[in-house]
Symmetry: C2
Subunit: 875 residues, 2 copies
C-alpha cells in the first residue's frame, strides 16, 4: 500500500506532530474536540521529503491525493474552487514540527480569480474588500510563490497613490483596488511571460510547492544548522477554508481571552466587531464592543462561544487567547493559543488553575516565565504615566525597574544629595569607584556599555534600574552638564529611566511599588518544594546579603572582596600596599585594612544568620586601584608623599598588555602572600567574633580565584591554613572552614580531577570562563558581537546565556572529574549565568549543587531551578 | 614465611627494580655479570613501606636482617665493622624505582670512629686523609641523619681557617683535621645531648632510618605529587663496602669512557692517578695520566679493565662512562653509566653501534637527544675561541648558534650595511617591523624578553642566533650607542653572541661552520623510515621555505601573512586600508597589496615544489599596523594626507583592553570581508600562475585563524569560495584547494565535531591555545611565570612544553571529535611546541598527521617523531 500523504483535519490528532507538523496536529486536535474549525487538510512532512527526493517535484501521486482531499473539502463545505456562486477560498500555511523562522508563512484568499471576485462582490456587497483581497493575493502569491520582488508591487501602489494624491492605503477606493489588480496582473504577465494563474487548482499546487521550497531557503538552513534540526524532517502544508466576518451584518469577528490577561481574574475578556475582518479589530479604526455585548447581538453564538472558550481552557489547561469569526450567523474558531498575560496575572492564573484542580503544582511552575518575575520584583512606572509620556531617548535595558531622580554626574555628588531627594547617577560610563554613588541612586544612566558593562552588572546586583549605552547622551562631568538627544540636562534636573524597556524620559513619572502578592509567595513555596539545587546570592555587603536573604537565598555564593577595597576610607591604605617596595611596608598597609575587612565580613555573616558564605580572595589586577592619567598620578603622589616619577614607575610596572590574563587572581597571593594572609585573618576573626557574640557558627568558604592547576591551590591553601589554623586553635573554638576554588579558566576544568584533590568545593566563574573559552574579551567584544548576532553567527550573547557546546562541555568535564575524586563535593556557579533561567536549567542537568546570582534574581533562580528539576528530575 | 627485606647484590638482578630500586637493581646486575663491584646489599622498598606502616620505626625483624647481611659482608670482605686492624667502611645510598631529587643521597665512610681512625692511619700512612674523612663523615651524618644545620659545622671550619690564617680547605693540615674532628664531636654532644655514635652498627641503622625518612620530606613530596609517583612505592637503601685508591702506591683511581666522547671514535678514553681518591682526579690539582699509561703501571689491572670496559659496553649496549678504584692492586668498578658525549659524537656512536651489530636502528634513534641536533645545525664558535674569551654579559639563550658582526641599532641600518660586512642587530626589544633587519643579521641581541619574546621566536624561525633579555644592556637608539655591562658600544663595533649559552663577547670570535656529516644523514634516513607523522615547517617567505625543504620539510604548515604586510613597500597600502572609512576605499588599498601578496605566494609555492602549503589569513589586530605615539601618528597623518585628529581617532577606535581576545583572526573577515577576499584572490591566482608556469599543481590550504564556532568558519569559507571558485572556473584548471581552521581557542577544541563539518583540516595553534587555556597572556606572564617555576608550581613553561593535562586534553578532545565527523581529516600543529621533542611525542600519541616547526628544527622534529613512533607505534 502506498503512503498516505494528505490528512483531513479530522483524521489527525495532537500526537501526529512529526507527520502533520505542529500547526496541523493542533488544527486536527481542535477539530476532533468538536470545535467549529474551518475545514481543511494537511499535506504531510513526508510529502515534503518526497518532493526533495524527486528532485524538487511534487509527484503525480501526491498531486492526486491533494486534489482528492480538495474535492472532499468542497463537498463538505458546499463551496467549490472557482465557483462564482459559492466560491471556496483557502489559506495555505507551512507547519514544521517545530516553529521555524525563515520559512514561508501564509498565503490568504487563495482561490480568487476574476470571476470569483465578481461573484464575491455580489455575495458580500463589499467590492472594495473583494478587490483589496484580490490584489493582496496577487501580491503575496507573486512574492512568495513566484519570487517576484515585493518592491515592484509597492512601487505600483505608490504610483496609484501619487496619481490620486493620497498618503495611506486605506484612502484608496474600490476603483483604485480594481486598477491595482489590473496593473498587478499586467506586471505579472510581463515578468513571468504568462498570465496570472486563474485556475485555483494551479494556484494551490504552486503554493504547496512554494512551502516545500521554503524549507530549504538560506535563512531556514541557517536556523536549522543552529538548532540541529535535520534537513530530512521537512515541513507540512495546511490548507484551510477561508471564512469571512465581513460577509454582511450577520457576520463578524473578534478576539477574546478566557481570563483577564492583566489581572488574571477568571472572566471572559475581549472585543468583537460585526461585519468586519480580523484586521479591522486589530487596526483600531472602528470602535469595538466588549465581548459581553455579543450576548445581545447574537445570544446563541455567544452561548456557543462561552461554551467553546471553557472547553478550550479545559482542554489546553491554560488561559486561552482565541480568534473567532462569525460568517452568516455561523461561529468559526480560527485560532486558540495560550494567551499572553502580565507577570502579575501569570502568577494568579497559575495559582488559580491549581486551586481549580485543573493543573498540578508542577505544571503551574512550568507555565511561568522566570524572567517575567523581574517586573514583579521592581517598582515600575504606572501605566498612565507611561501612556502620556514620550521617551526622549532609548538605550540598552540593562537592569529592570523604574528610576526617577535628580541628575548628578559623579558618585560623590549623588552621595551628597541623596539625603535631600531621590538622585539618579548619570555618567559616560561607570567604574568600580562609583559603587557607593550607585548604591544611593534610584537608577543609573550611562552613555556607553551594554548589558555586560560594569554599570549594568552592578546595578542588577543592587536591584537598581539601569539604562546603558544611550548613544545620544554626552556627559561633561567637569562642567556638570549633559546633552541628551540634543537637550541640555543640568545637575538637579529630574529625569526618569525605565530599565525594563531602556526608555529615558524628561521629568518625573509616577511609579507604583512592586506588590508581592500572596500568589508570588505560593509559587515560591512550590518552587522550593520541587527544586533540587540550592539558590545563593552574590553579595558584597551586609545590605545586599539582607536583601538576598529576604528573597530566599540559602547562602552567599560570592562575596567579591575587591569592591570593599574601593571605599573612600580604604583606598589610601590599598594604594599604600600596592606601592610598597618591601614586605614590611606592605604588611603595615594591610594592617590598616584588616579591621575594616573584618568588619565587612562580620556584617555579612550576621546578615546571613549562619548560612554559608563564600568569600573570594582579592581578584583584580592591582593597577585597577591606581590612577592612570598623569594628572591623577601627580595628585596621588603628593598625597602619598612620593615623587611623581616613583609613582608613575609603579603604575607603568603594573601595566599589562592583556590584563585579563595577567597578574591577578591566585597569582597575586603567590607573588604577594601577605594580601591573602590578611584576608584570611579578617575572615576567620570575623567568624570567631560572630560566634562569640551571637553563638551562630558560620562556615566560611574561602574561595581562591583564577586557579589553573592543583599546585597553585596547594600553595595558597597552605598560606590560608598557616593563618587560619593557629587563630582557630588560639580561640579554642571548633570552627570549620573550607577552601575551594573558582573554575574560571579552561585549564581548571580540564585539570579538575587534580584540583579536586585540594579543593573542598568548586564554583564556576562563567564570566571569565566564557571569556577564555571563546577568546572574547568582555571589554572589547562589543565591537564585533553585534555583527555576530546580526549575521546569525551566534544566536545568543554567550555572556548572557551559557554556551552549552563550549563552556558547558568544559563545565561537564569539571563536574565529572571533580566528583570522581570527591563524590559529594558541592559545586556551584556564581557568574552572571547563575541568574539566567536557561543557563540554570543546564546547571541542574549537569548536577550542580547551587546557583548564585544577584539578590534580585534569587526568586527567578528558585523558579528556574524548580522548572529544571520538574523537567529532568535527578535521581 | 616472612618477607625478605634485604638482598645481597649477588641475589638481585636488573628486573627487580620495584623491590631494589634502580640503583640496587643495577649494582646487582653488574655483580652478577662478574664485574668486580665492591660487595654490598640492598634494603628493599618494602622495608621502607613497612617503616611507615610501623609508625616510622624500623622493626626488629628488619634490623635483624640488616645485621645478618652485614655479617655476611664482613665475612666475604674479610673486614669488620669497628676493627682497627682491618675496618669495614661502607657507603649508604638511597635508591627509589625512579631517580628522585629531594631525597637523601649519600653518606660515605660510615664505620669510622676514633679507634678505626687510628687503625686507618696505620694502614694508609695518610693521617690527613683519615681525619679529613672522619670529619666529613661526622658532618654528613650530623646533617642528613640528625638534621643538625650544616652551617654550624662550616662556621667551625671558618674559625679554624681564620685562626690559622688560611683561605682554602686544602691548606688545612693533619692537626687541623684532628682538631676539627674534636670540635665537631663536642658540638654534636652539645646539641644532641649525647656523644657522636662510635658504634658503626648504630651509625648504620640511623643512616638507613634517615634514608627512609627522606622519602617523605617536603621536597620529595612535591616531586612525587608532580610526577604522580605513589607515596607507597618507598625507597630502597644500598649499603656498599668502601674501597680506597689512596691506600698506598699500589692503589689508585680513574675515570674512562669506552669511546671518545668528543669525536665518537671507538677508543678507550680517560685518565687515572695512583695513590689518590676520585676527588683528586676531578679536582685537577694533580696531573693525571692517560688511561693507556695504566698498561705500564699495572698491566694486569689494565688488561682486566679493558676487558671489563668491553663487557660493560656490550652489556649496556652503549658507550660507558666508568669510575674505578685500585685498592692494594685490586681493581674495583665503582660506577658505570651511559657516557655523556658531544652531539657530533652521539651521531657517530649511534650509527657505529648499528654498524657493529650491537643495536638496532630503532635503538640508535632512541639514544639521541633530538634537541642536541641544534648544535650540529648551526655555526658555532670554535673551542679555542671560547676558551680564551670572557663573556662581558649573559642573557637568555634564545636561539642557538654563533653570531658575530658589526653592531647596528635599527633594522634599517642593518640592512644598509649588511652588504659591506656581517652585521648584528642590537635592540631594546624587537617588533614585527624589525623582521627585514633580522633577516640580514648574523644574530640578534636584545635587552628585554625571553625565549618566548618576538625576537626569540623570529630568530629561531630564521635560524639566526639570538641572545635576549640581557639585563645590563641599555640601547639608546637615537644616539646610536648602547651600554653593555657598563661599557659603551658604538655603531659598527664588533661583538659576538652565543645563542646556545646566552654569552655575549666583545670583538670577533672565530666560528666553525656546521658540518652535517654522513652520520647525520644516516640518522635522518632512519628517522624518516620509522616515523608516522609528517614534518612540515613554518615559513613566511620563499627563502625560509627553501631552507625548510633542504632540512627535509614535507610542506609548509604555517605561512603567516601578516609578516608580509610589514615590508616597507607595503605598509603604506596596509595603513590606507585600515583607515579607510568605506568599502570602496578599503578595496582600493587592498588592490595595491594584491600583486605583492600574490608574488609572495608564488615564491613560496615554487620553493616548495608542489608540496602542500598552508596559508593563514591575516590574524593580528589591526592596531598593530598603526603607530601608537602621538609623534608618529602626526608624521603618518601628514604622509597620508589626513588630519592628526582623524588618524588619532582611528588609532583610539582600534585600541583594545585585551587585544589578544579582541578583533582579530576570523573576526576580521567577518567584520571586513574584503581583506580575506583579497588574500584568497592572491593565493588562488598564485597557484594558477605557478601551475601555468611550471606545471606543478600546488594544493593551497587556506587556514582561518581564531575560529570558535562552526558558523564563523561557514561564513568565512563562503567568502573564500565566492572568490576562489569563479577564479578557478575561469582559468579552466582543475585546481583543488582546502579550507581549514586553526584550533587555538578552547571552544574550537570543544566544538570540534561541529567545526569539522566545515573544516577540511585542523591545525593546532598551541601558542594561543595555551594562552587561553591557562589565562596566561604571553606578553604579561613573564612577571609571574618565574615565580611559578621557582616555587615549583609549574614544572615547565607551558609555552615551551605542551601542557598535557590541560592543553593536551583539549587537543585530544578536538582530534577525537574532528575524526568522528571526518575520519581521515589531516590534523597538525604549528605552534612553538611543534619543534619541542617532548611535545612532538604527545602529538604522535594523540594521532596528529603532522607537526610544523621553524625550518631549523625540522631535523629535530623528524628524529623526535621517529622516537615517538618507535616507543608507541600506531596501528
Amino acid at each position: 500500500m502506498s503512503k498516505k500523504y494528505v490528512y483531513l483535519f479530522r483524521e489527525g490528532n495532537k500526537d501526529m506532530r512529526e507527520l502533520l507538523g505542529g500547526k496541523g496536529a493542533n488544527l486536527a486536535e481542535m477539530t476532533n474536540a468538536g470545535m467549529p474549525v474551518p475545514k481543511g487538510f494537511t499535506v504531510t512532512t513526508e510529502a515534503c521529503t518526497q518532493y526533495y527526493e524527486d528532485g524538487r517535484k511534487i509527484n503525480d501521486d501526491i498531486q492526486a491525493e491533494i486534489l482528492k482531499n480538495l474535492a472532499i473539502l468542497e463537498e463538505e463545505n458546499g463551496k467549490r474552487f472557482g465557483d462564482p456562486e459559492n466560491p471556496l477560498l483557502v489559506s495555505v500555511r507551512s507547519g514544521a514540527r517545530a516553529s521555524m523562522p525563515g520559512m514561508m508563512d501564509t498565503i490568504l484568499n487563495l482561490g480568487i480569480n476574476d470571476t470569483v471576485a465578481e461573484g464575491l462582490v455580489k455575495l458580500t456587497n463589499n467590492p472594495r474588500f473583494v478587490y483589496d483581497s484580490y490584489r493582496r493575493f496577487i501580491q503575496m502569491f507573486s512574492d512568495v510563490v513566484m519570487e517576484l520582488p515585493k518592491r515592484n508591487f509597492e512601487d505600483i501602489i505608490d504610483q496609484v497613490k501619487e496619481q490620486k494624491g493620497v498618503q495611506l492605503d486605506s484612502e484608496l477606493e474600490t476603483e483604485d483596488m480594481q486598477s491595482l489588480v489590473s496593473q498587478f496582473k499586467a506586471f505579472y504577465l510581463e515578468r513571468m511571460g504568462e498570465e496570472f494563474p486563474q485556475d485555483p487548482k494551479i494556484q494551490l499546487m504552486e503554493a504547496v510547492r512554494a512551502v516545500f521550497r521554503s524549507w530549504d531557503n538560506p535563512r531556514a538552513q541557517v536556523y536549522r544548522a543552529m538548532n540541529d534540526i535535520p534537513a530530512d524532517w521537512g515541513t507540512a502544508v495546511n490548507v484551510q477554508t477561508m471564512v469571512f466576518g465581513n460577509w454582511g451584518d450577520d457576520s463578524g469577528t473578534g478576539v477574546a481571552f478566557t481570563r483577564n490577561p492583566t489581572t488574571g481574574e477568571k472572566e471572559l475578556y475581549g472585543d468583537f466587531l460585526m461585519n468586519a475582518q480580523g484586521e479591522d479589530v486589530v487596526a483600531g479604526i472602528r470602535r469595538t464592543s466588549d465581548i459581553s455585548e455579543l450576548k445581545k447581538v447574537n445570544p446563541a453564538v455567544y452561548e456557543q462561544f462561552v461554551d467553546i472558550a471553557t472547553r478550550l481552557e479545559n482542554h489546553y489547561r491554560d488561559m486561552q487567547d482565541m480568534e473567532f469569526t462569525i460568517e452568516r450567523g455561523q461561529l468559526y474558531m480560527l485560532q486558540t493559543r495560550n494567551g499572553k498575560r502580565t507577570p502579575g496575572a501569570a502568577l494568579k492564573i497559575a495559582v488559580d488553575l491549581v486551586k481549580e484542580g485543573m493543573i498540578s503544582e508542577q505544571e503551574a511552575l512550568l507555565m511561568l516565565e522566570p524572567n517575567s518575575l523581574d517586573a514583579v520584583l521592581h517598582d515600575n512606572f504606572t501605566k498612565e504615566a507611561l501612556a502620556s509620556a514620550t521617551p526622549i531617548a532609548t538605550g540598552v535595558p540593562a537592569s529592570p525597574g523604574a528610576g526617577c531622580g535628580a541628575v548628578y554626574f559623579t558618585a560623590e555628588d549623588c552621595e551628597a544629595h541623596s539625603a535631600e531627594m531621590p538622585v539618579l547617577l548619570v555618567r559616560q560610563e561607570t567604574s568600580t569607584e562609583d559603587i557607593v554613588g550607585m548604591q544611593v541612586s534610584q537608577g543609573i544612566l550611562t552613555a556607553r556599555g551594554g548589558r555586560a558593562s560594569h554599570a549594568a552588572v552592578v546595578a542588577r546586583g543592587m536591584g537598581r534600574s539601569c539604562v546603558a549605552g544611550v548613544a545620544s547622551l554626552i556627559v561633561d562631568e567637569e562642567a556638570k552638564v549633559a546633552t541628551l538627544a540634543g537637550q541640555e540636562i543640568h545637575e538637579g534636573d529630574f529625569i526618569s529611566i525605565d530599565g525594563s524597556t531602556g526608555n529615558v524620559y524628561l521629568g518625573k513619572l509616577a511609579t507604583e511599588e512592586a506588590t508581592i502578592s500572596g500568589d508570588f509567595a505560593t509559587i515560591m513555596e512550590w518552587a522550593d518544594k520541587y527544586r533540587q539545587m540550592d539558590v545563593r546570592a552574590n553579595a558584597d555587603n551586609p545590605h545586599d546579603a539582607g536583601v538576598a536573604l529576604n528573597f530566599g537565598a540559602q547562602g552567599v555564593g560570592l562575596t567579591r572582596t575587591e569592591h570593599m577595597f574601593f571605599a573612600e576610607d580604604r583606598i589610601p591604605a590599598v594604594r599604600e600596599m600596592i606601592v610598597a617596595t618591601t614586605v614590611e611596608q606592605r604588611k603595615k598597609a594591610l594592617a590598616k585594612i584588616l579591621p575594616m575587612q573584618r568588619g565587612d565580613f562580620e556584617g555579612i555573616f550576621k546578615a546571613m544568620k549562619g548560612l554559608p558564605v563564600t568569600i573570594r580572595l582579592l581578584d583584580p589586577p592591582l593597577h585597577e586601584f591606581l590612577p592612570q592619567e598623569d594628572e591623577d598620578i601627580a595628585a596621588l603622589a603628593q598625597e602619598m608623599g612620593m615623587t611623581f616619577t616613583d609613582l608613575k614607575n609603579v603604575v607603568i610596572s603594573l601595566q599589562e598588555v592583556n590584563p585579563m590574563m595577567g597578574l591577578r587572581g591566585c597569582r597575586l597571593p603567590i607573588q604577594y602572600p601577605e594580601i591573602a594572609e590578611m584576608q584570611t585573618q579578617a575572615i576567620i576573626e570575623a567568624a570567631l567574633n560572630v560566634y562569640k557574640e551571637t553563638g551562630m557558627k558560620v562556615i566560611p568558604e574561602i574561595m581562591v580565584p583564577l586557579v589553573a592547576s592543583k599546585s597553585e591551590l596547594t600553595y595558597v591553601k597552605g598560606l590560608i591554613a598557616g593563618v587560619a589554623d593557629p587563630l582557630i586553635a588560639a580561640a579554642g573554638v571548633d570552627l570549620p572552614y573550607e577552601v575551594g576554588t573558582m573554575i574560571e579558566l579552561p585549564r581548571a576544568a580540564l585539570a579538575a580531577d587534580r584540583i579536586a584533590e585540594e579543593a573542598e568545593f568548586f564554583c564556576f566563574g562563567t564570566n571569565d570562563l566564557t571569556q577564555m573559552t571563546w577568546g572574547f574579551s568582555r571589554d572589547d567584544s562589543g565591537k564585533f558581537l553585534g555583527t555576530y548576532l546580526d549575521r546569525k553567527i551566534i544566536e545568543h550573547d554567550p555572556f548572557q546565556r551559557l554556551d552549552r557546546r563550549g563552556v558547558g562541555r568544559l563545565m561537564k568535564i569539571a563536574v565529572d572529574y571533580g566528583r570522581q575524586v570527591r563524590p559529594n563535593m558541592h559545586i556551584g556557579i556564581c557568574g552572571e549565568h547563575g541568574g539566567d533561567p536557561v543557563s540554570i536549567e543546564f546547571c541542574h542537568d549537569i548536577g550542580l549543587s547551587y546557583v548564585s546570582c544577584s539578590p534580585f534574581r534569587v526568586p527567578i533562580a528558585r523558579l528556574a531551578a524548580a522548572q529544571a528539576a520538574i523537567k529532568n528530575p535527578r535521581k
